[in-house]
Symmetry: D2
Subunit: 392 residues, 4 copies
Amino acid sequence: MSDLWWPGDHRAGVLLTDQALLDAMVAVEQAWLDVLAEAGLAAGTQLPAVAPDALDPAAIESTGNPVPTLVAHLREASGETWVHRGLTSQDVLDTALVVCLRDAVARVRGDLDRAVRRLAGLAREHAATPMVARTLTQHAVPTTFGLKAATWLTGLLDARHDLDHLDRVGWPVQLGGAAGTLSAVVELDLDPRQARDDLAARLDLAPAAPWHTTRRPLTRVADALVSVTDAAGRLAADVATLSRPEIAELSEGHGGGSSTMPHKANPVLSVQVRRAALAAPGLAATLHLAAATQVDERADGAWHAEWATLRDLGRRTVVAAAQTTDLVEQLQVHPDAMAATLATADDAVHAEQHAVHEVLGRDPSAETDHHDYLGAATDLVRTAVARAEERP
Amino acid sequence: MSDLWWPGDHRAGVLLTDQALLDAMVAVEQAWLDVLAEAGLAAGTQLPAVAPDALDPAAIESTGNPVPTLVAHLREASGETWVHRGLTSQDVLDTALVVCLRDAVARVRGDLDRAVRRLAGLAREHAATPMVARTLTQHAVPTTFGLKAATWLTGLLDARHDLDHLDRVGWPVQLGGAAGTLSAVVELDLDPRQARDDLAARLDLAPAAPWHTTRRPLTRVADALVSVTDAAGRLAADVATLSRPEIAELSEGHGGGSSTMPHKANPVLSVQVRRAALAAPGLAATLHLAAATQVDERADGAWHAEWATLRDLGRRTVVAAAQTTDLVEQLQVHPDAMAATLATADDAVHAEQHAVHEVLGRDPSAETDHHDYLGAATDLVRTAVARAEERP
Amino acid sequence: MSDLWWPGDHRAGVLLTDQALLDAMVAVEQAWLDVLAEAGLAAGTQLPAVAPDALDPAAIESTGNPVPTLVAHLREASGETWVHRGLTSQDVLDTALVVCLRDAVARVRGDLDRAVRRLAGLAREHAATPMVARTLTQHAVPTTFGLKAATWLTGLLDARHDLDHLDRVGWPVQLGGAAGTLSAVVELDLDPRQARDDLAARLDLAPAAPWHTTRRPLTRVADALVSVTDAAGRLAADVATLSRPEIAELSEGHGGGSSTMPHKANPVLSVQVRRAALAAPGLAATLHLAAATQVDERADGAWHAEWATLRDLGRRTVVAAAQTTDLVEQLQVHPDAMAATLATADDAVHAEQHAVHEVLGRDPSAETDHHDYLGAATDLVRTAVARAEERP
Amino acid sequence: MSDLWWPGDHRAGVLLTDQALLDAMVAVEQAWLDVLAEAGLAAGTQLPAVAPDALDPAAIESTGNPVPTLVAHLREASGETWVHRGLTSQDVLDTALVVCLRDAVARVRGDLDRAVRRLAGLAREHAATPMVARTLTQHAVPTTFGLKAATWLTGLLDARHDLDHLDRVGWPVQLGGAAGTLSAVVELDLDPRQARDDLAARLDLAPAAPWHTTRRPLTRVADALVSVTDAAGRLAADVATLSRPEIAELSEGHGGGSSTMPHKANPVLSVQVRRAALAAPGLAATLHLAAATQVDERADGAWHAEWATLRDLGRRTVVAAAQTTDLVEQLQVHPDAMAATLATADDAVHAEQHAVHEVLGRDPSAETDHHDYLGAATDLVRTAVARAEERP
C-alpha cells in the first residue's frame, strides 16, 4: 500500500481503506444477521469476507453507495436471504464508518500517548534550559525550552481530551431502517430498542437513536481529528522554524536528504506534519457543511460527501500523529545554541524588565540579580507535566 | 446598528461589536488594575469607558492590534501609569475575546432553550401526525411529523451539549505576559498563580495556564458555534423544502414578501438560517488553520486572523439561533397536506412492508392491519423529548 | 480500480493515480535525459516504466517526496548516472503534476462538450415548453424548460471558458533547479533558456520561468475545476428538486434503487454530482492556502499539501463531469407535469403581471392576450445556444 | 470608520460599506428609472441619496434582502411610483454588488501597480546582491535578492493578470426580472435587449444575460481577489522570516512596537498581510459553495450567503494590497547580512556544485571560478522585470 501523493500514508496501513470499510460493513451485516438468528428469523450463517474487487464499481455507482451491491454479493455467496433484512444502506455504511473511525482514533491516541510522554520528559528535562521567547518573529523575553515543550504538550493534551471526549459521548451504532423509524425492524416483530442494543453490543458500540440526518456524531470526530492536526502543526511549525540554520536550536533526529544536495538535512517530519495541518481544516469544514445541508430523512448528496472526506481526514491524522511522535522522540535539542541566541539578544530580552524596574522606581543596578527573568516558567512546566500524568 | 449585507444582523445587538470588544478590554485592564491595587502597587483608579472613535485606526494598525493604543488612551485619560503593567497585548485581547464570546454563547443558548422547548412541544403534539418520509428526495416509508420535529430537536440538543461543554471546560482567562512566562508579573513581586486566579475571579472566568499559542479554547468555541448553525441549517432545509407549494406540508408563520410579486410568501427565516449554515464552516476552518499555524510564543499573523473571524462567526450564529427560534415558534404545520401526500404515495411507501412480508411468508391480506407502518416512531419521539427535559 | 468511499471514482480510470504520477515523472526524467543527451552529456538511454510498488514508501517518506527514491531506482535500473542531473525534485514533481492535471482537464472538457451539446439541444427543443419559475422555493412567474436548460448551459459554458483559459495561459513546465536559479543547468554548460524550452517542447508543455513558490499555475487549475463542479452542482440541484415526486417535472433516466425499497428511483447521478460540488470548494481553498503560505525558495509543508489535494479535486471533477454528462443525456423531461404545475400556480404566477398592468392603468381584460407571460425567454435561449455553438 | 477586529480596515474607506452598497443600489434604481423615463413611462425624477439608518433593519430582515425596504423608501421619498418597475430585488442587489466590487478591484489594482513598480525596481537594483536560497527551511544554493524580489513580482503580476481578466470578461449588469425572463420588462413594452444595454451603459457595466443562478461572475472576482492575497501572503511570509533577528536580511521600514517591550520592531505589515492570506481562501470557498448550491430561479440561502462574504473578502483584500504596497515601498534590504549568511553557509551552498563537478569529472580546483554559482538568476530577473513593464 503506497500513496505517492501523500508520503507517509503507508503508516496508516489498512485503516480506513476500501478493505477496512468492507470488513466493517460485513461485520455489521453479520452482527445484524446474528440478531435476526437469535430472534429465530435467520439461521446462524457466517458471512464470508469480501475483497473490494469482488464488487462491481459500476453497480455501486448505480445505487450511489456500496451497500446494495455488497448485500447482493453476500446473499449470493452465503445463500442467506435474511442478510440485511430490516436495515437500510445508511445503517450499514454509517455504522461501518463509525467502526473504522474508532479504529483510526485509537491509533491516533496511542501515538499521542507516546508523544505526550516524550514531551513531558522534554519539559521536565529542559525546565531550566533558557532560550529566547519570540513574538511576532522578534526576540521578546527569556523563556525555557522546557516551557516551550510544555506548550506543545498542552496542545496535545487538549487534543487528547477531545479524543477522550469521543469515548465519553460514545461511538454510536446507526440503526434506523429505511427512514429512521425502524419500520422493518418492528414489522419483523423485533423489539426495536432491544434489537438496537443487541446490535450495538455485538459491535462494541453505543446504542443511539437514529442519526441519519443529525450528523454531530461525525462532525464531533472531525473536530477532534482537526484538533490533533492543529496541535501537531503548531509543534511542527516551531521545529521547522528553530531548525533553520541561522537559529539551529532544534533539529530533527534524521533530516531528510535532497535529490541534488546530498548533505542537506531537511526537517521532513515537520514538513509533512505541517502539510496535514494545512489540509485538515478544509476537510472538517466539508463535514460540517454536509451536516448543515442534511434534508429529509436522507440527504441528497450531503451524506455522500462525508465518506471519502472522513477517510482522508482520518488517514492523514493517523499519519500526522505517527510522524509527530517520531518527531518528538527523535528531536535534538541544542541548549548551547539557545544560550548563544539569548546572549546575543540580551538587550532586547531585558527591555521589559527595565521598563518594570522603571515603573517600580528600582535601582537598575539591582537588575543583575534578575538576569534570567524567567517568571513562572518552572511552575508552568510543572503544571503541564502534572496534567500529562493525570491520565490513568 | 444595521448591516445591509447580512439582514438580521441587528438581532445580535452590541454583541461582538467594536464597542463590546472595547468594553471588554477596558474591563480586563480595570480588573488587572484592581489586582495591582490590591497588591499595593496601583491606586484604586476607575478607568473610563472608551468609545471606538476615541482610538486612531492608523495608530492601531501601526502596532497590529488595538491594545497599545487603548493603553495609551487609558493612561492619559486616567493619569494612572500602572494601567496594563505586567500584561501583554494578547492577555488583554484574548481575555476580552473570551468575555465577548461567552456573552454571545449565552445569547445563543437562551435562544436554543426556547427552540428546544418549542420543538419538544411540536414533537409531542405531532407524535401521531403521519407524513411521508423522504430519502434522496423520493418517498420512502411513512413517518410522523413528530419524529421529524424530534430529529430537529436532537440536532439542537447535540448543539446545546456542545455549548454546555464550553462551560464545563471553562471560559479561560489569558494571563501570560510578554511571552507566556508571566515574567513581569513575577518581577512585580506578585504571586503569579494568585494574580491569575484573582484576575479570573474578577472577570468571572476560569483560571488557565497561558494559551497564547495553544488555541483549542477558541477552536472549541468555533466548533460549538458551527454545531449550532449545522443543526439550524438542517432544520431550515426541511422547512424550505416542505414549504414548497407542491408539498406545502409546512409554512413559515410570516412569509416574506417580494419586491415585485406582492402575494408571495417566501420562507425568509429558513433562507437566512441556511445562509448562515453555508458560511459558518469556512469561518471555523479559518480558526483551525490559525490554530495550526501558531508558531513561537506569539504567531505572526495566525493570531490576528482569529479576531474578525470569531466576531463574524459569533454574530452570525447569534442571528441564526434567534431566527431559528422564531422559525420554530411560528411554524405552521399542515397535517392535512401531510396526509394527502401520504395517500398519494401509498404504493411507494408500502413497498418495504410488502418486501418484509414476502420474506416472512405472510399473507398479504393481513397487511391492512399495518396500514400506518410507523415502526418505533412514537418511542423515538418520547426519547428525544425526554432528553430535552433532562436539563435542569 | 475501485473506491468504495467515492462511488463512481472508477470513471476517472488511471487519471491522477499513483501510476499516472509515476509515468509522468518518468516521462519528465526521460525528457530531461534526452535534453542532456542532445547536449552530449548523457547517452540516449531509455528509462524503464516503474510500478508504484517498486518504490519503498518508507524511503519516500524519509525525503518527504517521491522523487529521490524514484531517481535512485531509475539510476540503478538504467545504469545511467545522468538521470536527473540538473533538476530538483520539485522540477520533476511539479511538471508531472501539470501533465497529470492537463490529462484530467482534457477528459473533463470532453465531457463538458458532450453535456453542452445535449443542453443546447434540450434548450432548443424545449424553448416553448412552459413551466413555473421558482424563487426562494416559491412559485414566481412562468418560464420555459428551455430557459432552464439554457441557464444550466450557461453555467457549463462559463466553466468551459475557464478550462479553455488554462490552455491559453499555457500548461507550464517547471525547471528551476535546486532553488529556482537553474544553477546546475548553467554549471552543466547548458543554455538555461534553451534547455527549458527543449524540455517543455518534449513534454508538449509551455516554457515558463520557475514557479516553485508562485503557485498561481496550480490555483488557476483548481479554480477552473471548482467552476466545473459549481456549474454541475447547480444543475444537479435542480434535477434533484424537480424530480421530487410532488413535482415530478424531471427524472433521471435510470433511477438508482434502494437496498430495502425495490421500486424506488433515486436521482443517484444528481446526488453524486452534488456530493462533489459540496466537497470541491474546500479542496480548492486548501490549494489557495498552500499558495498563500509559500516561503523561501521551497515551502516547508505548503508544497506538500498540494499534491493529494490536486489529485482528489481532479479525480472528483472528472467523475462529476462524466456523471453530469450522463445525467443530461439521459434526463427525462415531463412537459405535462410542468404544464400541470403552472396551471395550479395560475394566480401566483400572474401576480406580477397584474401589478404591471395596474401601474400601466391597463384594462385587466386585456390580460388574456398575455397568458404565457414569458418575457424574453425565447431570445435568452437563443443567445445561450448561440454561445454554445461559437466554439470551433 | 474603524474596525478594532481587523486593524487597517480603515484603509478600505467607504468601499463595500453599507453606504457604498446603498449608493450603488440607488444608482441602479436611478439608472433604471432613467431607462423608464426615456421610454416615456416614468418622469425624469431624481432619487435622493439614502443613509443606512433610514432603513429599518427589521423590515429588511422580514424580506430577507434590503431592496424592498429601499424601494418603499425611495417611492415615498420621491413620490415616483415607477421606481423599480420591471426589476426584481436580485437585479438591483447583484448589480450594486458588481459596482461595489469593481470599485474595490480598481483600488486593489492601483496598489498592485505601485507594488509592481517598486518590486521591479528592487529586482533590478539587487540583481547582483547575492544571498542564500532556502528550501524546506535549510540553506540550498546561492541566489540573489533581485531574484527573490522578481519572484514576489511574478506573484503580483499573476494576480494583476487575474484582475485584468475581470475587465476583459466584463463587469456584468444583472437584469432578469422576477425569474430571469425579463417578463415585466417585456410587459412594459420595452425591448428587453435594448433596455438591458441601456441600463448597463448608464452604469458603465457590460450587458449580460441574466445570471441570477449562474454565479461565475462573482466566483471569478473571488478567485481573483484570493490570488491577490495569495501573492501578498507569500511575499509577507518571506519578509516575516527574513526579518527574524537571527537572519535580519530584511526589515520593515517602520516596525510596530509592543505594549510592554518598547524597543521591539515587529514586522506588523507582514503580519497583517499574512492574516488576510490565511482568511481569504475560506471566504472564496464559501462563494464557490454558494454558486454550487444555487437552485431554481433564485436560491434559498445560497444567494444570501454571498453578500457579506464578498464584502469581507473585498475589503480585506483592499487592506492587504495597501499594506503590501507600503511594505515593499518601505522595505529595508540588508545586503551585508545576506553576504554574511552566505559566507557562513559556504559548504552547504556549494554541495550541489561539487556534485555537478564530480559527475562532470572536473578538477575541483577549477571551482573557484564559479564562486557565485548564480545560474540564470540575472536573466530570470530581467524576464520578470520585462513582464512588469509590458503593461501600457
